[in-house]
Symmetry: C2
Subunit: 461 residues, 2 copies
């Protein structure tokens, strides 16, 4: 019952080759728009336009909205104005606004006059909100009712409106200023008595967001309360849109990807589907800022190593284990940073839990430190058996100095890995962006200081 | 209109102190179960049980299902059997099965006989599916219709059934063997003519999953097709449950957290809300496996460094820049690994795109290598000005050797970072688990080999 892409592509191509447009139309009506859009994405734009042109009007726009945004923009630029206007008229309002924002200004100016007044206004409104806010992801496609309607009048009203998809399953009750009085679900309306007053059956405690709220915060609201949709109000408390569950899912996916990339010091936003499309130059720019910054910060480690040159000259064996201490610090620090960043993002913890978190991380790191310290002592004894070391110092003692440094580094790195994101959260910065890259640098510095200090104290170098 | 937790807690405590149970009941009916559950989570179990006991029956169970699972288990163990059975009877089937699986066997055996036959069967069925499959996250709370009903008969049927939440918005049409014939939405039923036959208005192309399908794959289906719910069938193609959009959102959040943790070499599954609750011992275990494994693999780096001891003795300056080469390799490799792991998870790329990905990463890494190589040469000239180096070799030449090694390391590490996840995906392993930890070790080894080989070739040590 689920269709496979290759068949779609072959069949559609056949139909186009024979100019069999009736079959194309039937085809579009038989399968889910998302799958047809998948198939079309491997067609040249001109052929895709033909297919869309032969799908019955609202369906064509729906298939189009499932196409990748860059493909949409390309196709839009190549379309006659009349066709583009017809497409925009039928598209879901939020997808339409997103497309509009990506169109060149010429294309925008060109198509706006061809649209009806209501659509022009709608696009202007939705496209005016800043990226990342709830206003930028909401849709204007929802139904409102007045509190004085009866349940059966309300159902009739919804039956006529029958706007897109599931947005009639939740309807919002507003006053004459369009302020939210309550919400009522279609299930409520169906199960109520025919002449029950909407104002009496509605839920007054409506969970909502404001247009300027962060999109991820709104998506998490939808997640927490298991909502189908979240109403969005403006500064005057008037209802201006809804944020639907499917868009919430997409927002959470996008935000999570960005967090993961920040943990690896990659800046920039991540919109789905762009890895291969994004030019290498852009990938490079996103990574370069941090990498170069880190290299600059690495100067500090360099200076520290240089200041301990004498110790290294005296005991070359110390140089042999520097990388191990650095690596282990990086690994353990990354682990604690990742866990803390994630716990912060999921609101499992907040900066006020700092002491509890540090205490927990301390316990974990001490256990890890004992194991790793022991293993590293064995490593030194095994690898450096027979190495050249100054008289009067046994290899075992060198091993102890290195193991002690490593153990202390593990504890330090873990705590630093936990503290940095918490500090960032307290300063209202994004925890993920501070965690991994700054982390590697800081634990290198602490690691080197611990290492050479340990050598000085235990071995006297 | 959104309530604040502190007020809830204070008010509820007041009501309990005065044994004002009518107010407790009104309170529970005024706010969203998720918020009341939040407030209750800071109460001792005994007080929370009192509050739940005074909420009207189905509501108490709903609030209870929003509590953290571990809290649910604790409260369940302290409840009289009759109360627990009543609670379980009213809980959403999927939450009930999850709770049941976490209860001790004694508790399970104790409460089962107190449940009605239908509930016992339902729990047994849902709890039988393996963690991570679609069967384990689906619910049995949905409505079915036969194809011969008229639209108005169907609406009446749904009005009577009125099961939980939005699950009447999608209903499934099945035959006498409960096999999926189609699905019809409540909107379809409302907008159809009263005596239209369900079999005629239903959508025959139903997107579905099987009980054994991976939970994340099913969640991504819901995401791709913007579904409210996804029907789930068993081996005999009979409909046995549905997977709802809100649970899909939770699954995606959970799976993403696990991916992020794998990138930092943390094993184990991550269920929401557990960071602080998970004992340090468990956190330690999850991290220890990999960390110790990495330390063991680190032996290889150790052996390599030892084999180049002579070079280091000859030119101590080389020891001073080893950490820089290791760090930069780790950072650039992490960046490419993170991006590739994410692109694989979002299905933007697959192993068949390996060459395209490597080509892109090659271009990016060459740009980074040029910049970092140049910067590192400057660093050597600046930091090591006046350092002790053998006769006949200029500092500039040393800088070139180090910079060349770093540049080559950047390219190598980036490519390794991209290849490892792709290779893992091809072998049907989890890309995230191979990427970061194995990555650090591999790039250390390549980095050291490149570094000392460069020194040998360019400086003759």
């Amino acid at each position: 019952m689920n269709i496979k892409n290759p068949l779609h592509i072959i069949e559609l191509r056949e139909m186009l080759a024979h100019a069999d447009y009736q079959s194309v139309k039937n085809y579009c009506q038989s399968y889910h728009p998302a799958d047809i859009a998948d198939a079309l994405s491997s067609f040249p734009d001109s052929e895709a336009r033909v297919v869309l042109g032969h799908a019955p009007a609202p369906l064509g726009a729906e298939i189009f909205s499932h196409l990748d945004e860059d493909v949409q923009v390309n196709m839009a630029s190549g379309m006659p104005r009349k066709d583009l206007a017809a497409l925009l008229a039928d598209m879901p309002p939020d997808d339409r606004a997103d497309l509009f924002k990506k169109m060149s200004s010429e294309l925008q100016e060109n198509v706006l006059p061809a649209l009806a007044q209501a659509e022009r206004e709608d696009i202007r409104r939705l496209a005016s909100y800043e990226e990342g806010t709830t206003g930028a992801v909401m849709t204007s496609d929802y139904a409102v009712l007045s509190a004085d309607l009866t349940a059966s009048q309300a159902i009739d009203r919804l039956r006529e409106a029958a706007p897109d998809k599931e947005t009639i399953y939740y309807t919002y009750v507003v006053d004459e200023k369009r302020r939210l009085l309550g919400f009522v679900s279609l299930k409520d309306l169906i199960t109520a008595r025919r002449n029950a007053r909407v104002g009496d059956i509605m839920h007054k405690d409506v969970i909502f967001s404001r247009v300027e709220d962060d999109q991820e915060a709104s998506a998490r609201k939808i997640q927490k309360y298991d909502l189908l949709a979240l109403p969005v109000v403006n500064g005057g408390d008037a209802l201006v849109g809804i944020f639907t569950h499917d868009d919430a899912l997409d927002v959470i996916t996008q935000e999570t990807t960005e967090d993961m990339e920040k943990l690896a010091a990659i800046t920039g936003t991540h919109e789905a589907g762009v890895y291969l499309k994004t030019p290498s130059w852009i990938h490079f720019k996103n990574r370069a800022y941090w990498i170069v910054g880190l290299a600059a910060l690495g100067l500090i480690s360099g200076v520290i190593i240089h200041s301990f040159q004498a110790s290294l000259m005296h005991m070359l064996i110390l140089a042999l284990y520097m990388p191990m201490v650095a690596d282990t610090g990086g690994n353990t620090g990354s682990q604690s940073a990742t866990v803390v960043v994630r716990a912060l993002a999921l609101k499992e913890i907040s900066p006020k839990d700092t002491f509890r978190v540090l205490y927990k991380e301390l316990k974990i790191s001490v256990l890890l430190a004992l194991i790793l310290g022991g293993l590293s002592w064995l490593k030194v004894m095994f690898l450096s058996h027979g190495d050249n070391i100054p008289m009067g110092i046994s290899l075992a003692k060198v091993g102890v100095a290195i193991a002690a440094a490593l153990a202390l580094q593990v504890v330090t790195a873990t705590l630093v890995g936990a503290i940095l994101p918490l500090f960032a959260a307290k300063m209202k910065w994004d925890p993920a962006i501070v965690a991994s890259p700054a982390l590697t640098t800081v634990v290198d510095i602490t690691g080197l200081l611990i290492y050479f200090t340990s050598a000085k104290l235990i071995l006297g170098v």
